[in-house]
């Protein structure tokens, strides 16, 4: 069995391609059902920055072929140019890195973990995900949690949003009742929007190129949606503007904003540009009453600079490498030597050793027959003890609960070192993050 992953992300594909491939929950279910005939297991992760198809199949080529045909049917032949493909351990590494938010546009943002969890849940619901994917994901979730708690990588994303709020506070004194305009409903914009809402800013207006996504974000943070055409009037009303669009051109320039300022009557305007490339022209700060900051400026507010962030990212990669090694080790134990055989071998080994010790203690005055009956007794105890679990596991066959039982047995008897966390005891949501961050659903 081989794990295959193909997909597009903000790193490989322009927004137009990603938009075509982005799927709603209903569409994902259909795709899953369509593909599951050809592959053993499958799952689709679709967020605003990535669309990824995972599959487990006997042959990687067959799986790739099936997934390619899905991609072509959604986005046309051209979209294949932007695909990345991984299989085997490289697919595993990709899954772990994505889940740990190392591949995110904003490295360390916490939503992706929830999004992958949702993707797996959906695949399990429609019966597309099986034990292989479940185990791999569970291990990926565990390592993402480790990355989050053991490195400062999550802090940098959170601190971007909170630093923006801090900066805004230095202008306005407090954000209670300050009108906010979110231009672009990207991950970072969403995060900032949630922070601003928690700081009391209201009303929050969302403008996004795709209205659907804007509506999703607006409903999750209690805001209103406006069309892109209303950008001008929305700018007049807003005190804080957060930009996070994928636009390659400036959305706000000195020329476009200065007439607005006259209408605003010198009310201070606070602008944060979280987009790369930038949405706000850098010379906008020269205007009176305009306080405009880009990602670099906000990074500077945060004490830990990019150097320490690189260190944190390196730490995270190390953790992921460790976790993958552990997962691969336990998987090979599980796959190569079935748990039952392992258990039996271990028990027989113990029985033999104990019988021999007993015989050695009793000395030479035992007859050959007596010796044999001691050995037979030891073997019988092993057989009787293992009979019940053996037959039960065989009854369950290749069912998922059999896997669970086998895993439990392996863990109970210490048959493998460090088994991965089981899917049925998923990692609890990270408690070190605000509840707003743990909420999910930024799927297109």
């Amino acid at each position: 069995m081989d794990l295959v992953c193909i997909g597009v992300s903000h790193k490989t594909a322009p927004l137009e391609v990603r938009e075509k491939l982005a799927l709603s929950e209903g569409e994902i279910s259909k795709v899953l059902q369509r593909v599951s005939g050809t592959v053993a297991e499958t799952m689709v992760v679709s967020t605003c920055n990535r669309v990824e198809f995972y599959a487990v199949a006997e042959s990687a080529e067959k799986a790739k072929g099936a997934l390619h045909s899905v991609v072509v049917s959604l986005g046309g032949d051209r979209s294949l140019e932007h695909l990345y493909q991984h299989h085997g351990d490289s697919a595993l590494v990709h899954l772990f890195r994505v889940t740990a938010s190392l591949d995110s546009m904003v490295v360390g943002e916490a939503q992706i973990l929830g999004q992958v969890k949702d993707a797996l849940e959906l695949a399990q619901r429609v019966g597309a995900a099986g034990p292989e994917l479940v185990r791999a994901c569970a291990a990926a979730f565990a390592s993402a949690k480790r990355v989050r708690s053991e490195t400062g990588i999550g802090r940098s994303a959170v601190s971007m949003a909170s630093a923006a709020v801090e900066l805004a506070n230095k202008v306005f004194g407090g954000l209670e009742g300050r009108p906010v305009l979110l231009v672009g409903a990207g991950e970072m914009g969403e995060l900032a929007g949630k922070y601003l809402r928690n700081a009391g800013a209201a009303p929050i207006v969302v403008i996004n190129r795709t209205r659907e996504r804007a509506e999703q974000l607006a409903s999750s943070i209690g805001g209103q949606v406006r069309d892109f055409a209303e950008l001008h009037t929305s700018t007049i009303l807003a005190d804080l503007i957060v930009c996070s669009t994928a636009s390659s051109q400036y959305i706000f320039t000195k020329e476009s904003v200065s007439p607005i300022l006259r209408i605003r009557k010198f009310r201070p305007l606070f602008m944060v540009d979280l987009a790369v490339p930038r949405d706000i022209a850098p010379d906008l700060s020269e205007l009176e009453g305009v306080y405009a900051y880009d990602v670099d400026d906000i990074q500077r507010v945060i004490a830990d600079n990019s150097a320490t962030r690189a260190v944190e990212a390196a730490k995270a990669e190390t953790i992921i490498a460790e976790e993958i090694a552990r997962f691969v080790r336990s998987r090979s134990i599980r796959d190569g030597v079935p748990v039952l055989a392992l258990l039996r071998a271990r028990a027989e080994q113990i029985a033999k050793a104990e019988a021999e010790r007993t015989l050695a203690n009793l000395g030479a005055d035992l007859s050959e027959k007596q010796r044999r009956s001691v050995q037979a007794m030891a073997t019988a105890i092993v057989n009787k003890l293992l009979h019940e679990p053996t037959s039960r596991l065989r009854e369950l066959g290749a069912d998922q609960s059999a896997n669970r039982l086998a895993d439990a047995a392996a863990e109970l008897f210490g048959l493998e070192s460090g088994s991965p966390r089981l899917p049925d005891q998923p990692a609890a949501p990270a408690t070190d993050l605000p509840a707003a961050m743990a909420s999910r659903g930024s799927k297109r």
Binding site: V171, F172, P268, S285, G289, D297, R300
Partner: protein, 266 residues
Amino acid sequence: MLSIASHEYAIAAILYLAFLVRQRRLFAILGRVLIGTGLLIQAVALGSELADQGGMPVGLAQGLSTVVFLLLAIFFVLDLRYRIPVMGAFIAPAAVAVLFSSLLISGGGEPIPSALRRPLLPVHITIALVGIAAIAVAAGVALMYLLMERQMKGKHFGLLFSRLPSLKFLDQLNKHLVLWGFVALSVTLVTGVFFASSSSSLFWQWSPKEIATLVAWVIFAALLSARLFAGWQGRRVAVLTMAGFCVLLVSFLSAYDPNRHLGVFR
């Protein structure tokens, strides 16, 4: 007694500066206590001096001392109300500098001519000094605003950035102080004209003091109406406040021009 108070102020100024660098609550609390007790002591000292002179300060030394008293009193009240000890680092050192220089000036101004000794004169002078003190604090706040805005615009988030209150707060404080200062200034002008009109020889002589006061009044009148009607705020208001304060300072000092017999308007 005055020197005890001024020493207390000096220590408080140092404490506030220390607070600016090292955010230790103890510094701010000690500074507050020292300013408070200093004000009490100075109030007693000034009160006994002024009582002998019919309730009004005479001469530059006393005038400065009174302004410093009012200035620190305003700061003290603001600090109690809004907890902004950082402001002490700007106000207290300036107040101490003024107070010490006033101690160097030989006191004892000339007695005020009997022609001007009217019951309302102490009121005129006191309100004038309150106005000057309020505008002085406003100028200090404006300076803080400009420094803070420079940090925010220049995007180098240094020491002051984390210590100073928000731009909005400083702007609002400036608004209130200027408003009160302007009211006091207007009352001063009206009562001044009232006194002068009673004696034809004194009526509006276009003396530097009169001109400077009038210019300052016009500046603050324009500033307040621009704020109220054109929505001015922030940087330009801060700059104008400081300019207005400078003009007012000229007016204040020219009142003590030794070459002219200008006990008159005081």
